[in-house]
């Protein structure tokens, strides 16, 4: 019985992890129809921000929950102003440009920090489920993922800003005619997505270690979850994370982490093959 508790806990953490790494990508894709191939590197920047802040004596919680998202959000702002805004409406070019950005960020961080993995300490200890022990940090991940999704949902549905954002995404011309400046909304949305990626990077840093190439380990899962989830950011991300997180963790426990990841990716490819219409339909409608 204890074992089921332990496995259940691990699955919960697996779902939380996937939701966390996906939400930033989902915000940018769902609202702007931009596939940000530098998403993993935004997470990497968040992890480095946490690492640097922590080594300068800043409290680890402040470093990962506040400094990392703010720093990466600002990076996102700069990227949107200098790169993305020239490419709106050119989906493929955006993918290529963000891929270039991803390579560039890996190279830049390698030049600055070298490519040796760094560690960030885990700020909490362990607890026991029956006679099994598990790391309390898993709870942190789950709670942060829920807060990020809930916060975003509340912002979209309850605030005036959320209303304006939804209006702009649905019909930018009409919104502009009503006095909204779509470029500002796009800029803010991209920065918000980047900040969420930074948050994910910061929170996962103690578990994954910090290195310039760490992003590559996450992007496949994040893309797949976003595509699987579809256009509704909050519900889509939650549902897809639930499914893929369960598959990943469960198969990992039964075999190895690699097979777990492969199973997740295969399941996702099959799922997109079965349900391409809804997603593509949404995508085509927007791009036309």
């Amino acid at each position: 019985m204890d074992l089921y508790g332990l496995v259940g806990f691990n699955i919960l953490v697996g779902i939380g992890t996937i939701a966390l790494i996906t939400v930033g990508l989902g915000v940018i894709y769902g609202m702007m129809k931009i596939i940000n191939l530098a998403h993993g590197e935004f997470m990497m920047l968040g992890a480095y921000a946490t690492y640097v802040a922590n080594t300068h004596g800043i409290n680890i919680w402040i470093a990962m929950l506040i400094i990392a998202p703010i720093f990466v959000g600002l990076v996102g702002l700069v990227v949107e102003r200098c790169l993305i805004r020239f490419l709106y409406g050119r989906m493929i070019d955006t993918m290529l440009a963000t891929w270039g950005l991803s390579l560039g960020l890996i190279g830049l961080m390698t030049s600055i920090f070298g490519n040796d993995p760094r560690g960030v300490p885990t700020p909490v200890g362990s607890f026991s489920i029956g006679h099994y022990a598990a790391s309390l940090y898993g709870f942190v991940i789950v709670v942060v993922a829920i807060l990020a999704l809930a916060g975003f949902y509340a912002m979209l549905s309850l605030t005036r800003y959320g209303l304006i954002v939804r209006a702009t995404m649905q019909n930018p011309n009409m919104a502009a005619a009503l006095g909204v400046a779509p470029p500002t909304i796009y800029m803010a949305t991209f920065a918000l997505g980047a900040a969420l990626a930074g948050l994910a990077g910061g929170v996962l840093a103690p578990i994954s270690g910090v290195s310039p190439v760490m992003g590559a380990a996450f992007i496949a899962k994040a893309f797949i979850t976003v595509l699987g989830g579809g256009a509704a950011i909050v519900t889509g991300t939650s549902l897809a994370s639930g499914l893929f997180g369960f598959i990943d963790t469960f198969v990992s426990f039964k075999s190895t982490p690699v097979i777990g990841e492969v199973a997740l990716l295969l399941a996702a490819v099959v799922m997109i093959r079965i349900l391409p219409q809804g997603i593509t339909g949404r995508f085509l409608r927007r791009s036309l």
């Binding site: 596939i35 790169l83 020239f86 490419l87 989906m91 493929i92 070019d93 993918m95 290529l96 440009a97 891929w99 270039g100 950005l101 991803s102 390579l103 560039g104 960020l105 890996i106 190279g107 830049l108 390698t110 030049s111 590559a216 496949a220 893309f223 797949i224 595509l227 190895t256 690699v258 097979i259 990841e261 492969v262 990716l265 295969l266 996702a268 490819v269 997109i272 093959r273 391409p276 997603i279 593509t280 995508f283 085509l284």
Partner: protein
Amino acid sequence: MIFRKLKRADSAGGIWGPVAVVVAGLVLLVGAPMVTGTFGLLQLTVLAALAIFALAQGFIWGFGGILCFGQSAFLGLGGYAYAVGALNMTDTTGAVALAIIVPMLFAALLGYFMFYGRISDAYIGVITLTVSIILFDLFNSTSGDIYHIGQAPLGGFNGIPSVPPLNIPGNPDAQLDTNGLWYAAMGALILCYILLKWILASRFGRVVVAIRENETRAQLLGYDPRLFKLLTFIIGAGISGLAGCLYTNWGAFISPTVFSLTMSAQVIIYVLVGGLGTLIGPILGAVGIQYLINVAGGQHVIDPNLLLGIVLVAFVLLVPQGVVPVIRAGFRRLIPAKQPSTTLAQPVSQEASR
């Protein structure tokens, strides 16, 4: 309408450009061993292999309009197929055939799901990217003894060392030395170039380009875009597999790093920099970018990834059509064309002329 335009464009391009390219290739093929030593020749051999890889990507992307972000999957499958074949057979000729056929079969399967599922370009990019990541992870986890095919252990992270080199077909004892390998690689590059030129000049090639230009219109004319895209994708995979075979021969070694994202990114950069919709562009792009990477890596001035990233972003923003078309357009402006060439035909004529 489309076909009349294409024919005109084709005659405008002329045959002399491709002939000049082939002659230059032959001169290099014969001349290189005379002027450079073993090390230089090995470097040129790997460049030729990567240029073939770039040709494949240039063909499916620039002419077929297929956005494959995971072309390295086929490079790697070809390399592994060759290594496994060469370790199991005494004559490596069969292994070369495997290196071409296995990626083609895999592409047929994957392409069927993608093109007959009618998913969008961006999704094709994401799915191919994902597949190359799956293959990377899979091959990385085949270290155990149970993972072997015949005599060949897959070796996981280690890859497969001591892969036997190519031999003269039918004569397993006549293994190619460094010079022989260069002739094989450069010869293959020239042959692939001629093959793709020929395909593009054929009726099939014209339909492929027509589908890229306007899928609906081509379909209304009675061509099934799904089938033509699938065939284009399969041809690209076969050529990538051949590149993988030569790449394996260069180091007598293959490991899962051939499936890596960097490899897929590099080939996209070759094509984008050299010029979309040309065949010589990707070749020149491969040579130029690899030269840049070597210089940067050797002097430790700038990280190769940073360099690649800057090049990619700069080209997307500033020169999205690539170097070769820009230069060619410049020439056109200097030397007025004899044939009346409308601006409408311009983009298509670029493909057909080189």
